[in-house]
């Protein structure tokens, strides 16, 4: 069952991929009408296999939920080289299985939604093949039993993300964004890979079970790495976290995520909101037995997470592209998850990961529905007044935003609340830092969410007549998956809170997450002062109120503010100038350096002194001798013969003969 859940998407993807070429050859042979039929077949196959995979995943989940941990399923050995042994295997603990369920369910909804959203695209089969391929890699990532298979999934989702961001390959901006996403992720993978090497160096294994069993014994070990003696688990965790930062778009390595919105909207929902970007969070949770022994690494995770949460929230407040607002929002919410992990509230982080998957993909698909209605317009300044025209989408956006802003009883309320309480209850400096930044970001979250709703759906319509005339509610095939996700955004939190972080949490998670006895933030989260409990929802409501004030009741205010604080506004609008900084400091110098090394060192220095210098000398000599074109081959053969002659002489002289 488990194997089916993971491999069905791969099969669907491969079949759909083959159909792409089948379609091309049919069209080339004059069967113009084949396109629709083949596209339909590949939609049925990919959606069918995804839905089956989802069903299988739910069964596996129920089994593990009831019976406890399932044994891992080993498929076959991948690499065996001395003590370095690892297999293709599927891990059967609740953490993996929970992720498998979330990924397959969200992914099948997005597969179905794509039938409607991509209906007029010319490469439907290719799109479906990529989506399923992505899902397969993601499932390999979360179900892995060792670090290397995780890395396989990790890089694989990077590949699929690259293909999907650049799906419309004739757009230069899409190609650029695709490369940026891959390369920035590789910078993170650089850290992840070094982390894996260091783990193997320390533990002589890359299998989770072995590593986790030995973690306590190695908790005081120092290793000599980069010429310094350093606490082994700290450096390992920091390296792994660099990988997590890349994948989960944390401050510094976040630059690729907003650009990734170049991809079709279902991609943004699936990859850049619900699943792939949460891989970093998942990885840290998975490696909790190591992170728990490094206070330094945990503090770094907390600070980076909290800083990202506030940074991205500030930027989201001024963006005009509807998808970019949600993209920065994703970045910010991932920051919440990380600082939860940093205060050892892993289950709270996972809880938010799951609820976020539902409400954020709902928001993205809702935005997609808006864009679909507006004939591919993404600029909110050209929207407005849409709520009467697309009421269903409007309601879904409300549900998603209420969940995002953490309003009771929507699912985001439960998960965000417990994170902020845990941050407070950590009773540490970094915990307080995270708490206050988290509270501020919660205010901004509510503010930008309703800014989005009001700009898009209320006020006077700012689109031209032609676009407005076209505005229409999305077809059923798009509304249906939205409904499922909306139900998730409504009920996942209230239904599962007791299992994730409440009274049944210990039985639910069993041994899949490890928390050191000295880290009691989550346990103490229920004992925080009453104002800590109520602050998030109050602050959320006031964020909504401010948005109404600024964009509904006093529409002059935003303009006045942005011209009043021109510098701040520009700073935020340009996303704190990260892109400009990187281009100037890294990208351009790399190209210049490459060109310089090529021309100066390879061309002038090495060749000049070496072969060209010798060539000049030889030409001079040979001109004197008078046989310019004697041919190099003869030179060469001559030298060889000379060599053999010397050899034979040598032996004769030495008397071996």
């Amino acid at each position: 069952m488990y194997v089916a859940a993971v491999f069905l998407p791969l099969i669907g993807s491969l079949i759909s991929g083959i159909l792409v070429f089948f379609k091309i050859s049919l069209i080339n042979n004059g069967h113009e009408d084949a396109k629709n039929r083949i596209d339909l077949i590949s939609q049925i196959i990919t959606c069918g296999s995804m839905l089956l995979a989802g069903a299988a995943a739910i069964l596996v989940f129920l089994e593990v939920f009831i019976n406890g941990q399932n044994p891992s399923i080993e498929i076959f050995t991948w690499v065996g080289s001395g003590s370095l042994q690892f297999s293709w295997a599927l891990r059967g603990d609740i953490l993996s299985v929970l992720m498998v369920v979330m990924v397959t369910v969200v992914s099948s909804m997005i597969h179905v939604y794509s039938i409607g959203y991509m209906a007029t695209d010319k490469s439907i089969s290719r799109f479906m093949a990529y989506l399923s391929l992505f899902t397969f890699f993601m499932l390999m990532l979360v179900s892995s039993n060792n670090l290397v298979q995780m890395f396989f999934g990790w890089e694989g989702v990077g590949l699929a993300s690259y293909l999907l961001i650049g799906f419309w390959y004739d757009r230069p901006s899409a190609n650029k964004a695709a490369i940026k996403a891959f390369v920035v992720n590789r910078i993170g993978d650089f850290g992840f890979a070094l982390g894996i090497f260091a783990i193997y160096f320390l533990f002589d294994s890359v299998s989770f079970d072995t590593i986790f069993n030995l973690a306590a014994d190695k908790s005081a070990t120092t290793i000599n790495i980069f010429s310094t003696n350093i606490h082994a688990l700290t450096i390992i965790c920091l390296l792994l976290f660099v990988g997590a930062m890349g994948k989960s778009a944390q401050l510094g390595l976040h630059v690729w995520l907003p650009d990734a919105m170049e991809g079709p909207t279902p991609v943004s929902a699936l990859i850049h909101a619900a699943t792939m970007v949460t891989a970093g969070v998942f990885m840290v949770v998975r490696m909790s037995p190591l992170f728990e022994y490094s206070e330094v690494a945990l503090a770094v995770v907390t600070v980076v997470g909290a800083s990202t949460a506030i940074f991205a929230a500030t930027v989201a407040c001024v963006q005009n592209d509807i998808k970019r607002v949600i993209a920065y929002s994703t970045c910010s919410q991932l920051g919440y998850m990380f600082f939860a992990l940093g205060v050892s509230a892993y289950s709270a982080g996972m809880f938010h990961l799951i609820t976020h998957a539902f409400f954020k993909s709902l928001l993205f698909l809702g935005a997609g529905s808006v864009i679909h209605a507006m004939s591919d317009e993404q600029d909110m300044r050209k929207m407005g007044g849409l709520y009467k025209l697309i009421p269903v989408t409007y309601i879904f956006m409300w549900i998603g935003s209420l969940a995002l802003a953490g309003i009771w009883p929507f699912s985001g309320f439960f998960s965000k609340d417990i994170i902020l309480e845990a941050a407070w209850a950590a009773h540490s400096g970094v915990g307080r830092y995270a708490f206050w930044l988290g509270i501020t970001a919660a205010f901004l979250t509510a503010f930008y969410s309703w800014r989005l709703i009001i700009l898009t759906f209320h006020g006077t319509p700012r689109a031209d007549e032609k676009t407005l005339a076209h505005v229409h509610e999305s077809p059923k095939v798009m509304i249906l998956p939205l409904t499922v996700l909306a139900l998730g955004a409504l009920f996942v939190g209230v239904v599962s809170v007791d299992y994730f972080v409440g009274e049944y949490a210990v039985e639910f998670w069993k041994n899949s997450i490890f928390v050191h006895d000295s880290h009691q933030a989550l346990a103490n989260a229920h004992l925080v002062p009453i104002w800590v409990k109520f602050l998030p929802i109050c602050i959320g409501s006031s964020g909504i109120a401010l948005a109404y004030l600024m964009y509904m009741f006093a529409p002059g205010l935003p303009g006045a503010l942005s011209s009043g604080f021109k510098r701040t506004h520009k700073f935020l609008l340009n996303k704190w100038y990260f892109d400009e900084l990187y281009t100037k400091l890294l990208v351009k110098p790399a190209f210049k350096l490459g060109h310089g090394l090529w021309q100066a060192v390879d061309g002038l220095l090495i060749d000049g002194v070496g072969p060209n210098g010798v060539a000049a000398a030889v030409r001079m000599i040979s001109r004197r001798v008078g046989e310019i074109q004697s041919g190099y081959l003869y030179h060469y053969a001559f030298v060889m013969l000379l060599g053999l002659a010397v050899f034979i002489t040598w032996f004769l002289v030495r008397g071996y003969g």
Binding site: G80, S81, V183, D189, H595, D602, A615
Partner: protein, 504 residues
């Protein structure tokens, strides 16, 4: 079957093919057609026979297998002695496979002096297989240097406009190394009293002599790998060589250096190898970063891939001299993988060159619209080249880096940074050629890969994927031999109470 002369058959069948090609008579067109057919049949038969050594290979011993010994010049104690172990076996198959690919790849693109061309390739095959299976030092030298003769011809006769310069550069670089290596070989024979490599592999040369011998071999191997800074012949040779020439050059000839380090430097001069390991590490790490940066700035497709080869071979030398099981096995896998992947990438370039006759990156763009199959093939090899897990490229680099990390974390970190740059230059190349809008007029009628080209790429794709997903197929063959090699290396260091100067 143990007495069946597998290796000699593999070595001599191409010569039989040459004999038949020489017999061809008739007008140009008939000659060309017959020469192609004979070359193809010969290379296919050779390849199939070479699979026999894999099937009959005994994984449980580190001794040489399929050994044949014929006394050649008794007075000099010279013998024709061949055999393979877990280290060299796959290189023999790599050579025979790529020869088939080369013949097919030249099917239509070579129209001039086809007969001579096919002879050159078959002769090359004999020499390559001979090189990897030679167990006599002198025989090894003859094959090792002899390979360059057909290679010169292929570049010099069927090459591009600057072929003389390229061939000349190759000649100059290899000349210095080969003279030094010959002197070293003579010294070894006179000190040990035999040229039999099976004995030499167990012989302990005095420590002081080891350094000199190591350096002399290094001079030759470093050029072949090629290591920084003696790599500048490679981009020129590739650019000027015909497609099949690049395939053999990148696929097999570059492996001579790495194979040499494994066969000679590490087991025969272990103390010197340990002493010089920092030098290798520094040169390799520089090569990876330096050539990757240069590859970013290239405008010529072949040059770009040539520079990327230098970076990938930098991983190989790091793996070899990490001196542990993972590093060495990684190096062998990396060499095999690079043999397939870089060969395939040159073929990918060749497909375009055959159609448009330009290697300039800017001459292309938007090809996916007309050539979707081509785009997929290119994508697979690009991903293998940047070491995506699930492809052969990953297994090699991963094992090497794991091995290197145990010995020197700095080197591992610098080398790992090559993964970032590698992704950057390959994706940038792919984007400029395959993606974007198809605007150029001469590309609007370009045709997708045909069935001959698909037949060329299919075995390469399968190898890349199988090696990436189930590398045990290859690793199991080499385990015992590599363990034996590493043990010999480490015990030599231990008995000399050698304290590594390598920093952690």
């Amino acid at each position: 079957m143990s007495n069946f002369p597998w290796l000699s058959i593999i070595i001599f069948v191409p010569l039989v093919g040459i004999f038949f090609i020489l017999l061809i008579k008739g007008d140009d067109e008939t000659t060309a057609r017959n020469a192609r057919a004979i070359a193809l049949w010969t290379s296919v038969v050779t390849f199939l026979v070479s699979l026999g050594i894999w099937i009959n290979f005994d994984n449980s011993t580190s001794e040489f297998q399929f050994v044949e010994k014929v006394i050649w010049i008794p007075s000099l104690d010279l013998s024709y002695q061949v055999g393979v172990d877990g280290i060299s076996m796959f290189f023999v198959i790599l050579s025979t496979l790529l020869t088939v690919i080369c013949v097919l790849a030249s099917w239509v693109s070579i129209t001039d002096r086809v007969k001579d061309y096919m002879i050159a390739f078959l002769f090359l095959e004999t020499l390559m297989v001979g090189m990897f299976s030679a167990l006599d030092l002198i025989l090894f030298y003859v094959f090792f240097e002899g390979v360059l003769i057909p290679m010169f011809l292929i570049i010099g006769v069927w090459g591009g406009p600057r072929r003389n310069y390229a061939a000349y550069k190759l000649f100059l670089y290899t000349l210095a190394g080969s003279v030094l290596m010959l002197i070293a070989i003579l010294t070894m024979v006179s000190v040990a009293g035999t040229s039999d490599m099976t004995i030499l592999l167990k012989y302990d040369f005095p420590a002081s002599l080891q350094s000199w011998l190591w350096l002399a071999f290094f001079a030759s191997f470093a050029v072949k790998v090629p290591m920084w800074p003696v790599h500048t012949w490679l981009p020129d040779a590739h650019v000027e060589a015909p497609t099949a020439g690049s395939v053999i050059l990148a696929g097999v000839l570059l492996k001579f250096g790495g194979y040499g380090f494994l066969r000679f430097s590490l087991p025969m001069f272990p103390l010197a190898s340990a002493d010089f390991t920092p030098l290798i590490f520094i040169l390799s790490a520089v090569a990876i970063i330096y050539t990757s940066l240069i590859a970013l700035a290239q405008e010529d497709m072949k040059k770009l891939i040539a520079y990327s080869s230098v970076a990938h071979m930098g991983f190989v030398t790091i793996g070899v001299f990490s001196g542990n099981l993972q590093g060495v096995e990684g190096a062998i896998i990396q060499m095999l993988s690079h043999g397939i992947v870089s060969a395939a990438l040159f073929l990918v370039v060749g497909v375009l060159y055959d159609r448009i006759h330009s290697r300039e990156i800017r001459a292309y763009g938007g090809l996916v619209t007309r050539m979707p199959k081509y785009a997929v093939i290119f994508m697979i090899f690009m991903m293998a080249s940047i070491g995506l897990p699930g492809t052969s490229g990953f297994i090699g680099e991963f094992l090497i880096l794991v091995g290197a990390f145990k010995v020197n974390t700095w080197v591992a970190a610098f080398a790992t940074s090559g993964l970032i740059l590698g992704a950057a230059y390959m994706l940038y190349l792919y984007r400029r050629i395959v993606f974007g809008e198809l605007i150029k007029d001469n590309l609007k009628k370009i045709s997708d890969v045909n069935s001959r080209e698909i037949a060329i790429f299919t075995p390469l794709i399968l190898t890349v994927i199988v090696m990436g997903i189930y590398p045990s197929l290859f690793l199991d063959v080499m385990h015992v031999s590599v363990e034996n090699l590493v043990e010999r290396y480490q015990s030599a260091l231990a008995s000399a109470e050698y304290i590594p100067t390598v920093e952690q």
